[in-house]
Amino acid sequence: MNVIDWVDQRLDLTEVRHFVAEKGVPVHAQKIWYYLGGMTLFLFGVQVFTGILLLLYYRPSAAEAYESVQFIVTQVQFGWLIRNVHSWSANLLIGLAFAHLFSVFFLKSYRKPRELTWVSGMLLLFLMLGFGFSGYLLPWNELSFFATKVGTGIAGAVPLIGHFSLRLLRGGDDVTGATLSRFYGLHVAILPAIATALVALHLLLVQRQGMSVPPGVEKALKPGARLPQMPFFPNYILRDVLAWYVVIAVLAALAAFYPWELGTKADPFAVVPPGIRPEWYFLAMFHTLKLVPSHVLGIEGERLGVVAFAVAALFLVLVPFLDRRASRGESSRLFTVLAAGGLIYLVTFTIIGHYAK
């Protein structure tokens, strides 16, 4: 009697067996994009695992944070690897999350009945950006300190609640040890709790509704014909695992050849060093805000920019409800053009922001 039989006798795994036997994944030319979600989920797991290991040594105070990270990368066995993997994995995770977002956008996978899957995915992307923003400060080095000062300063430009948001984020008027404590709590407790719930919901919806088939592929099917299916277990899951291994290889190579620099310890009284900029995933927004004139039609430029980004984010969340044509199974070129425009904007401004002085 093996373990599964042992469990089956006690819990009755008939439904699970049925699910495993029946679950299939549509096979078509665009199925490659299905793997992006799995890879993103895998990296989330890597983050949780390496994050827990880092927690064992990290000390969240302005006096000890930098030294504790220094201790991790120099004294702890394989501490350097864990820290480098955590840093690189965070960046790959956000990169893959964006790729997943755009693949779903272009394939119109958000259309009815998957609106909630899209909304939960969008909220997860915002949470990942929150993870990135809060985690960036934790090593308490010079770059992260001043970048957080700039970033939280932008939050201060939000109309009506700007000053409140700034003080809420910083734990005061300036970036101090209180900010570090808040960001730590946010990074290791609040965001993970929400993210876990949202990931569970997202996966549940995906399992419940199955994989979406692109409208073009659906239209090309003859009436009454069904798309060929690939069994989820083991055919698809093995492919997923294969993709995860590729991700592990990339992570290991990046961690060993391009280690994440620790930099110098933050000094709140130091002069702002040149070249302060946020992480790459905020660069497009940061550079756009830099280009906005100080005043537009009598309104403060930065404030206007922040409002515009908030509207764009809201628009993204509501895309399934706005794109009525896609919901009816009709072609919706306007949203394809909008997605392409958004992608071009993000890539261009990220590159320009990277090279801008």
Partner: protein, 446 residues
């Protein structure tokens, strides 16, 4: 009756015009030009020589800000609208006598009237010195003036006459960054300086300003914004301006370069070098010192006295020994820094080693300082300490290299294992797909 009224008026005016006790707080607040006939009349003059002073004085001027008026320096009667009585030089009341434009010693006397009065200055600028006129009398300028030379600088030549600003004002001609330019107005002017000679009878040069602009001091002052960097008055004095005496140069330089001066004072060169530091570093064109200077070869500064080719020249041998030790430590530090930079770039934490290397750099600086005692034996323990630090850093760097090598080997092994697993997984997937396909095909044909 009219004489009594006149005397009363004169007394009132006197109170508002001259003398320490006469300049009270009410003067500070009263608008200078409200009833001032000097301003009213001179402002409208077509001759700019007459109009400019009122324009400048009406702008930013420290004296005007404190409530002083034209009459305080020039005399005359600002209450009178009649030109003749306003400029009455006979002055029925002596203090009211029109003095016109002071020149030569009169400038010193005019300024000293207040600036040498400790009691008066206390009420305006309590921390300001009151010995400027006395110092000036000891300066070359003061002595020349006393000898009847009217071309030398007086107070107004440097501070200006109207529109005078505080020394701490960046626009003041005597603000640290402007001092050299102010001195150069005369001292770089060949025509103006013609006829002046040095103690040895040679003509007073006019290239000092150009030399100074090449110096490390000028760079620090103007480009590094280091207001403590020396300009003309820091070495020559300001009010008591004079060239430092031969033998006093080391003291002048030692004001800032204290440790160097102490080392030099114990050296064999101290009794020999007439011009002290200037012998090697020059005076106005002091360039950034380099290790190349320490050589009896043509590139160095030891050569005029020492001969590098002469094996019996102990001075040349000492220069070679000191330079050799310094160069060795410098090379070792550079080599070790490159090694650490490579390790850091590869992700090995080397902060402690980099800090230690900074300590070795301090030893190098210390050796360069000690060199001013010109005794190779005194450098040896310092250089040895520096080399010991570098050796310790090197040992730590070797450990770092081993760690890096271990990481890379580990990575290749891991990647190899992953690759094997990926290939195996790929084959397994293909096998499963083929099996599924075969399983579906017979049923399709049934």
């Amino acid at each position: 009756m009219s004489q009594v009224r006149f005397a009363l008026c004169g007394l009132c005016l006197l109170c508002g015009l001259v003398g320490a006790g006469a300049i009270d707080s009410s003067a500070q607040t009263s608008p200078a030009s409200a009833t001032n006939s000097c301003v009213a009349c001179h402002t409208t003059q077509a001759d700019q020589r007459l109009a400019n002073p009122t324009r400048l004085f009406a702008g930013q001027d420290v004296h005007r800000d404190k409530g002083f008026e034209c009459v305080d320096c020039h005399g005359g009667s600002p209450a009178s609208s009649d030109k003749a009585s306003a400029h009455d030089a006979s002055g029925r009341i002596a203090a009211m006598a029109f003095r016109g434009k002071p020149t030569g010693q009169a400038v010193i006397a005019t300024c000293a009237r207040c600036h040498s009065d400790a009691e008066l200055m206390r009420s305006y600028a309590p921390k300001q010195r009151v010995d400027q006129a006395m110092e000036y009398a000891t300066s070359v300028h003061g002595k020349q003036l006393a000898a009847g030379d009217a071309r030398v600088a007086t107070c107004a030549s440097c501070h200006g006459a109207h529109g005078i600003r505080l020394v701490s004002d960046a626009k003041s001609p005597v603000f640290p960054t402007n001092v050299a330019g102010t001195c150069a107005t005369c001292h770089a002017d060949e025509t103006h300086m013609a006829g002046y000679t040095l103690a040895d009878g040679s003509a007073l040069p006019t290239h000092q300003f150009n030399d100074y602009r090449k110096s490390v001091h000028y760079n620090a002052l103007t480009k590094g914004n280091d207001l403590s960097a020396p300009t003309c008055n820091d070495c020559h004095g300001n009010h008591g301006a004079a060239p430092p005496n031969v033998g006093a140069v080391a003291n002048v330089c030692g004001t800032c370069h204290t440790v160097f001066a102490q080392k030099f004072a114990t050296s064999v060169h101290q009794p020999i070098f007439d011009k002290g530091c200037v012998e090697c570093h020059t005076n106005h064109a002091v360039v950034k010192p380099s290790d190349q200077m320490l050589s009896a070869a043509p590139s160095g500064v030891c050569q005029p006295c020492h001969n590098g080719d002469d094996k019996t020249d102990k001075g040349a041998a000492a220069a070679v020994a000191m330079r050799g030790g310094i160069e060795r430590l410098k090379d070792e530090i550079d080599r070790s820094a490159t090694l650490l930079a490579g390790l850091k770039n590869a992700g090995i934490e080397v902060t402690d080693q980099q800090l230690a290397l900074r300590e070795a750099g301090s030893k190098l600086t210390l050796a360069r300082t000690e060199m001013h005692g010109f005794d190779p034996l005194r450098l040896l323990p310092i250089l040895a300490d520096g080399m010991k630090i570098v050796a310790a850093v090197d040992r730590a760097a070797q450990t770092g290299r081993a760690e890096l090598s271990f990481r890379r080997r580990g990575l290749f092994l891991s990647l190899g294992a992953i690759l094997i697993f990926v290939v195996a997984l790929g084959l397994k997937v293909r096998q499963i797909d083929r099996r599924d396909h075969e399983r579906r095909s017979p049923s399709a044909t049934v």
